[in-house]
Symmetry: C2
Subunit: 158 residues, 2 copies
């Protein structure tokens, strides 16, 4: 988990992969998005999705899950390599231009990747920098299914 | 659940309210966003959030949950009033300008409301219209904590 000063515009990294099983799709949908095409195979087939489809919020939340897991692995590797302190990242003020481009159907595997597109120092919080990154998720057929531009506060090197 | 032709720009409706308990905040975070300030009260107090804070993806997913519940109540009321058929809404292609404006801390209650800001017919899918709506969520102190502009396909009257 690098400091703001370690980040470079254009740097692209794979975040991780996740398979949306029918069970996980229905489990998320029953809690947060209980529409018929997210809960039932036959309803999904009859819908514009053409099959049991993951809630868009599920697709987004899984991206967050993979990002947190990746940061944790990075921090653990850095700590193992030399006992480097782990700078905690800050809150995100939001994001822009989220697109659900293709249905995510039961059995699909999405691979998420993230590319840094903007870096600037925070005017009001001198100990933080502001990073914008475009995250995309591509399915096992190579089709981009999901994309958004996230904004995050990243700590500056003390 | 109205047809596209029933919608009006500027129409604003309350969607529903939800209290983010510590238990629900930790339950979502442990599945999708296991960062310390979403999992532990003391870590939350030490963070920029100032307390145990809900994941932004939890705040968004709860908005979806309340919207689906509201549409279901509307469809049930319409059916009870006259047996009107229930037009299913279609998929959303995405949204714009999502902002997490204030931390949502354990015990906070958000009230979500939605206002229609744009309506147009779909050029490629004549049986659907495209609605844009600005959704906001306000906490019990009247502070806007969350906002985004959603985009949805809505069926046209046959």
């Amino acid at each position: 988990m690098p400091y703001f000063e370690d980040l470079k515009i254009g740097h692209r990294e794979e975040v991780g992969s996740f398979t949306f099983t029918a069970e996980l799709i229905k489990q998320f949908a029953s809690q947060f998005d209980p529409q018929p095409f997210h809960l039932d195979e036959e309803e999904g087939r009859r819908s514009l999705f053409g099959g049991l489809a993951a809630s868009g919020w599920h697709v987004g939340s899984v991206g967050m899950k993979l990002l947190v897991a990746k940061r944790r692995r990075g921090a653990e590797a850095a700590a193992a390599a030399g006992g480097v302190a782990d700078p905690a990242w800050g809150p995100s003020p939001g994001f822009r231009d989220l697109k659900w481009l293709k249905p995510v159907l039961a059995g699909d595997t999405l691979t998420y990747a993230s590319e840094i597109i903007s870096l600037r120092e925070s005017a009001s919080k001198p100990e933080w920098g502001i990073m914008q990154a475009r995250t995309t998720a591509t399915n096992q057929r190579g089709e981009m299914a999901y994309a958004f531009t996230g904004i995050a506060f990243v700590p500056r090197r003390p």
